[in-house]
């Protein structure tokens, strides 16, 4: 703690140790970090900047990480970096969404999962449409959906990463899925009726 003149040598050793820990526990989650950054910022090049910033911050604070779940820890840092970035560049994305319970109509609408896409549209077309519709979801819904469907985090982990109560995670997730499926059904019908 108290520096000696030999501090640079100690620094170098500490640096090497941090590097090793970082390579073992954090770097393997680079794909997850990038995927989340991509969905939160909505742009490929911004996602790279945010990911790099987040990974460098993770490296800086690796000493402070003693948990077992490096992925959730890293995704939390990514989310903070992405939100700071959004504040600077796209503050309108950060508008709050009303938190309400699902009403009965929504509940009953949730019952039928979306039709199997391959029956309606070509794969490529279906994938493009899906990306578009996911991008249109409000940020609070999009982030829980991405953390669950793409990163396959548990509800508890999502609550930790987003700093939300678990009940809020569940209701946002339900709403995100509902909106996405409703939009998918609507747009899918439109596109097929236009003979695409």
């Amino acid at each position: 703690m108290i520096d000696q003149p030999s501090k640079p040598a100690a620094d170098a050793a500490q640096h090497a140790d941090a590097m090793r820990r970082f390579n073992q526990s954090v770097l393997p989650h680079l794909d997850a970090a990038h995927n989340l950054a991509r969905w939160l910022t909505g742009h490929a090049s911004d996602a790279q900047d945010v990911t790099q910033e987040a990974l460098l911050r993770a490296f800086r604070f690796i000493d402070g990480f003693h948990g077992s779940d490096a992925r959730a820890w890293l995704l939390t840092i990514v989310r903070h970096a992405a939100y700071s970035w959004l504040e600077r560049h796209r503050p309108q994305q950060l508008a709050a969404v009303p938190e309400t319970a699902l009403d009965a109509a929504e509940q009953s609408g949730a019952i039928e999962p979306a039709p199997s896409p391959e029956n309606i549209l070509s794969d490529q077309h279906a994938h493009a449409l899906l990306l578009e519709l996911m991008n249109e979801l409000p940020l609070p819904f999009r982030e829980v959906l991405v953390l669950r469907e793409l990163e396959e985090l548990s509800y508890r982990e999502i609550a930790a990463v987003t700093d939300l109560p678990i009940g809020t995670v569940m209701s946002r997730l339900a709403r995100a899925r509902l909106q996405l499926r409703a939009a998918w059904t609507r747009r899918g019908l439109e596109e097929t009726s236009h003979g695409l």
Partner: protein, 275 residues
């Protein structure tokens, strides 16, 4: 369990988040209901498609760039305020600045260059450290640097909140110490948030307060960070005032460009209010 109830639980079931009782009932029902089984299959297909269509793994270039940046990262920050004879002092990996965007780190010679630079910095650094009067001043220098950096880099806070019940838990699991985040708005020092920082080789909590136009950074360090009898408790460096006190196993430093009496007032208010 009927089909309607099952349908309302299907998402949660496929997420693996239903409780044991629900899971048993659902699986019993699925075993002999063709319609529900088809629903579950449709849901699984839908999710598989999302995963296939919407996942963006890191591009190869990003991985290389990052590894190069880390390899060469006995990095340095410009500390005009504290470094003698205008020198760059390696302290911590710095954030990539906007100006450094789109630069390609990917070339091998960059890494080579960086290690030569690191060696040079080493020598300078050694010289610099040897010239430092004592650990205390060195720590003060770092604190000043961190305080200045926090206001330069548009990175004053990681968690923005005047609510102590938001700020304090935010640090949980991020660092070892639980910083006493208290709002002192009534005494004229409004809590505006908190931040992770890096002091004396450790991740540190910084609490940020505002007093009129002045930003006060409060750095929370474990008690071992300074010798208990180290003097002086109040000091000034490069036009900033610093004040140190110990409480409940922690050493707190407050630093600001506000006056010394302002800091004294803050410290008094903090000591009286903190648990």
């Amino acid at each position: 369990m009927d089909c309607k109830t099952l349908a309302s639980l299907l998402d949660v079931y496929v997420d693996g988040e239903t409780d044991l009782t629900q899971t048993l009932l659902i699986e019993q029902h699925l075993a002999d209901c063709v319609a529900c089984k088809a629903r579950k299959q449709a849901l699984a297909d839908w999710r598989a498609m999302i995963r296939k269509a919407a996942y963006f793994p890191a591009p190869a270039g990003l991985r290389e760039r990052l590894e190069a940046a880390l390899q060469g990262s006995i990095e340095h920050v410009q500390i005009e305020i504290a470094a003698p004879i205008h020198k760059t002092v390696p302290l911590l990996p710095s954030m990539p600045r906007v100006a450094r965007r789109h630069r390609h780190f990917g070339q091998r010679w960059m890494a080579g260059f960086a290690s030569v630079a690191a060696l040079l910095l080493f020598a300078l650094n050694l010289n610099w450290y040897l010239r430092q009067p004592n650990a205390e001043t060195r720590l003060a220098t770092e604190l000043v640097a961190a305080h200045v950096r926090s206001q330069l880099a548009a990175h004053l806070t990681d968690v923005v909140s005047s609510d102590q019940h938001t700020v304090k838990p935010w640090f949980n699991g991020r660092i070892d110490i639980a910083p006493p985040a208290i709002d002192l708005a009534a005494q004229g020092y409004a809590l505006i948030g908190g931040r992770l920082d890096y002091i004396a080789g450790h991740g540190t909590a910084a609490l940020v307060y505002r007093h009129h136009e002045h930003v006060l950074n409060v750095f929370v360090l474990p008690a071992g960070a300074v010798p208990a009898d180290a003097k002086p408790e109040a000091s000034s460096l490069q036009g900033f005032h610093l004040l140190r006190w110990a409480q409940s196993g922690l050493v707190l430093w407050v630093i600001s460009d506000a006056s010394e009496s302002t800091l004294q007032g803050f410290a008094e208010a903090f000591k009286q209010t903190a648990p």
